[in-house]
Symmetry: C2
Subunit: 337 residues, 2 copies
DNA sequence: CTGAAAGCGCTTACAG
DNA sequence: CTGAAAGCGCTTACAG
């Protein structure tokens, strides 16, 4: 059962393949009657031009934008990956691009250069998420000829566009809230120095203090790799060693949840005895501990902006500025006003 | 900046393009030395064969499996879509297929036939999710020449494979648990008659009664369209009209959560005054009301099995049976043993 | 073991 | 307005 091709349509319509091609592609130098006939035949025969052949034949080209995720897991409790994915996909659909999901890992990054991967998959531009400082692809993104929108990192390159909320400002806002409430001994549970967002959130935390002529106690900082279990341990240890601590700012909700659990284990109540503010507003945040106070960011919006950035770079529309992605401080039980 | 093609490699290696092609594709009738030289040159030149040309030239073809989601939203609180997606993607990666995400809606289904969509996107097989009885694509799936794995529906077709847990058995198990606890007035909050899973879950609910020589009270059934708000209303109304009801089986966790909220609004406690069992085990289920009892199913596994089914149909491997996707009854606070 | 040539299904200058 | 022909970058019988 051969797939009907342009020759079948041409024969049936009694014209040349060139005319079929032009009619189907909306060229104006085709007799309206001829066009109609061709369109009817094509429809009747259920004809759809072969994408591969199209991409080779002439100038027309379907553009494919890939979402490249580093370290994809089978679960996505924070909804972060899904949000970015659906945002990017939405833009692809609206802009008539193909959407492809590509995943990689540190190991795979070593064995296949980014450029080769993109060519093999016929990808024209990529939205990248989940990368960390030192990942091989990060360097390659700076040099590569394809447009790249990089989420939650801060790297410069010819075709590299950075997409994220203002992590410094967000962390500063969260910390300022705690300081204004009167807290002075505010600990921070951070992710990892390898994550750009961790550096920025630390800067914001620090800035909030500095604006009041204060400085955070360096002993109050712990890296927990965004892991709930590690956050529990770190919190237990912090509160034990430094009983003066009255508030904790965590660079992710999972770590904030860990902190709250630890607080509970010590017989205290988050939001009553120790204030806790997290980051992300993941779906379960509003349900736990009567509600975890947190910085809300919208991954769907990140995905949209990133996708749109890639699309525009692909089409030379670099003038119009893209919207910034906003954030919000959501106050719930674990750190009430 | 032209992309290096096979001719560049041939020239540089001092052989014909035919030889390059064979060497790169692992054909055995190539002198090992020649092969090595070609590989080295290709590597040096960062050469990657153009996928479009490859798919046209000869028999080799990269196969693309698409996940086709009907009614994709920007959020996925149940994690169901993400799970299926990552499962299907995993299989694609393992099987060396391209993974594409396609979405549709009732409206889009009307305007573009499934076959045309698949051809336009050069898709070779599809995993379909989110469809309902009466959707135009459902009928087309039965006839289409591409292999299709359809999740959570029950349709027969030449190239159509159904993937789901045994919804009847799962619903039966949940209901049996409630009956064994002594409940006799067990209400059911169902989704919609248009969803195959709703019909099956109702059958399971019914069967559990019948096995004890009983029958469920038809007045106790409500369709809430998998919506939390509607479940709240339905539960309030049910408990008001039928005070004898002591347990509720909901065909989704969101509806179970709605039921629990309604119970709370009436000054009662889920699991103490009224037992509630849900379905899905979404991420927040374990946190709400001290834990919602529910039927757990693993969407990642569904995605893997569906992807694998498509792959096998694509390669004529229809003999080896695919694993069934299992489920589990998870008992928590809202319906304790 | 190697290569010249045909062919895959399109698009697009170009000639008419 | 229409069509013959070249060309896109590959792969694969086929001949040598």
């Amino acid at each position: 059962m051969r797939r009907t091709n342009i020759r079948d349509v041409a024969k049936e319509a009694g014209v040349s393949v060139a005319t079929v091609s032009k009619a189907l592609n909306g060229y104006q130098d085709v007799n309206p009657e001829t066009r109609k006939r061709v369109l009817d035949v094509a429809n009747k025969l259920n004809y759809v031009a072969d994408t591969n052949a199209r991409n080779m034949g002439g100038k027309v080209e379907t553009t494919t934008i890939a979402l490249l995720v580093n370290g994809l897991r089978s679960e996505d409790p924070s909804g972060f990956v899904f949000g970015i994915l659906s945002g990017t996909h939405y833009i692809c659909k609206r802009r008539n691009c193909d959407f492809m999901l590509l995943t990689t890992s540190s190991q795979e990054q070593e064995s296949m250069p980014l450029l080769q991967l993109c060519r093999q998959k016929s990808v024209n531009g990529i939205v990248a998420s989940g990368f960390r400082l030192g990942d091989p692809y990060i360097d390659q993104m700076k040099e590569i000829d394809l447009p790249v929108a990089l989420i939650d990192m801060d790297e410069k390159g010819r075709n590299l566009y950075n997409v994220s909320i203002d992590n410094v400002a967000a962390a500063q806002r969260a910390t300022e809230f705690l300081l204004k409430k009167g807290h002075r001994d505010v600990a921070m549970l951070n992710g990892t120095p390898a994550a750009e967002v961790s550096r920025k959130r630390y800067r914001g935390y620090r800035l909030a203090f500095e604006k009041l002529g204060l400085a955070p106690n360096p002993d109050y900082l712990r890296y927990c790799d965004f892991d709930e279990g590690k956050a529990i341990q770190a919190t237990l240890e912090l509160l034990h060693r430094f009983p003066r601590i009255t508030a904790i700012f965590a660079a992710s909700d999972l770590m904030a949840i860990g902190a709250c659990r630890a607080i509970g284990q010590l017989g205290m109540v988050p939001g009553t005895d120790i204030d806790v503010v997290g980051f992300d507003d993941i779906p379960i945040a509003k349900y736990l501990f009567g509600g975890v106070s947190t910085i809300q960011q919208d991954p769907y919006q990140l995905g949209c902006v990133a996708g749109e950035a890639v699309y525009r770079m692909l089409h030379g529309e670099t003038d119009a500025p893209l919207p910034t992605v906003d954030f919000d401080l959501i106050l719930r039980r674990t750190a009430a006003p």
